[in-house]
Amino acid sequence: MKNQQNKTEMDNVEQLIGKVMQVGVLLAAAVMLIGVLMLLLTGKSGYSGSFHPTTFSSLIQGAIGLKSYAIIMIGLFLLILTPVLRVIVSIYAFYVAHDKMYVWITTLVLIILIFAMVIGMFGV
């Protein structure tokens, strides 16, 4: 009986997760699309040569200056974050389902993931 109740709760939460993920992925796609269209219509990357910005400060400055490469890179970074979002909402899903063991397992995955991403940002 309790399992059955947990299962329907889990189903509802999975619907919610689906919506959150949709918003996240579509946001990343929209930002990329705007950047790509700007690039194709104006023919300008906003930078000289084949350079593209990769630091947070240059990305934000470039986006404020409406430079197409900066906007595309922000969209790509948002896309990279979508799996992280997936792990975070999964923790919530297991929490709602009163599945303590999997709240811990998924939290561990999140910690390992963030650790790996931070290594990536700053180098080993």
Partner: protein
């Protein structure tokens, strides 16, 4: 510039469809096309393929979640092994000679290919009726699951077994993706389908979710290194998001047997390619 963007968009649709259907990243499609047809240096091709994997995974995840194919517990439990494997792989780059690994992984893929052919021929059409005896880990970790198959219009309960073996294989999959930058999706499907005896459809769907998480772990390296070129990766990713939506819809309507028939030649090609690369032959 518009021609290149359209080519990338088209490549993305193809790669996203096939990748989300099979639970593989599509790096094996994207990398050769980008290096040979677009003439992109391998560094940027690998950068684009990491983005391709995430786009395939996130695009497919939206659809799979609604359709209830994937097994979230299996995904998260095994993800511990793949992410740690990916970090180990990144650290071991330069210590372990990749050629050795490629030979071993190549042999393993060829063996799995042989295994899958046996499954196709041996059991005939009744490939869903294999009785699995779940091991104690599957029960303790609540990994047994259930999925709705739109083709047979039935709810299929399944049990998994050999969990430690699957976990070890997933560590290997992470190691391979960290060290070699390719092949993690295929290894993930094998770990679940061949070792843990999970049905192929939930295996592919679960692999799809896991791939994205594993790729995100290494994507920041490529992003901040400048290996991800915006004018290449973004049109590709947009095409893939469309392709992933198509692939997941096909997956719902396809017979598991047909899925396996598509999988076998891909496995054979990848296995042969890796094995021969170990001996210095590339194609």
């Amino acid at each position: 510039m518009i021609e290149t963007a359209l080519l990338l968009l088209f490549l993305g649709v193809i790669s996203g469809t096939l990748g989300s259907l099979l639970g593989i990243g599509g790096g094996m499609i994207v990398i050769p096309v980008l290096t040979v047809m677009v003439g992109l240096p391998i560094r940027y091709a690998i950068g684009a393929s990491v983005i391709a994997v995430i786009a395939t995974s996130s695009g497919a995840t939206i659809a799979y979640l609604r359709d209830d194919l994937l097994n979230l517990r299996v995904a998260m439990f095994l993800e511990i092994a793949t992410t740690i494997g990916a970090i180990t792989g990144a650290i071991l780059t330069g210590i372990i000679h990749p050629l050795w690994l490629e030979t071993i992984f190549g042999l393993f893929l060829l063996y799995s290919c042989f295994n899958m052919i046996q499954k196709l021929w041996g059991k005939g059409k009744a490939n869903q009726t294999i009785v699995v005896h779940p091991d104690q880990w599957a029960n303790k970790l609540k990994l047994n699951g259930s999925y709705y198959d739109k083709v047979s219009m039935s709810q299929n309960d399944y049990e998994v077994t050999h969990v430690p073996g699957g976990f070890a294989m997933m560590y290997g999959a992470g190691l391979a993706s960290g060290l070699l930058g390719i092949g993690s999706g295929v290894f993930k499907v094998i770990a679940m389908d061949t070792i843990m005896k999970m049905p192929l459809k939930p295996s592919s769907a679960t692999s799809n979710l896991m791939m994205g998480v594993t790729a995100a772990a290494s994507a920041t390296v490529y992003f901040f290194d400048g290996a991800i070129k915006p004018e290449i990766a973004a049109p590709l990713a947009l095409g893939i998001l469309v392709g992933a939506a198509i692939g997941t819809r096909i997956m719902q309507r396809i017979q598991p047997r047909v899925l396996r028939i598509i999988f076998v030649p891909i496995l054979f090609y990848m296995g042969l390619q890796m094995f021969l690369k170990g001996f210095g032959v590339t194609f």
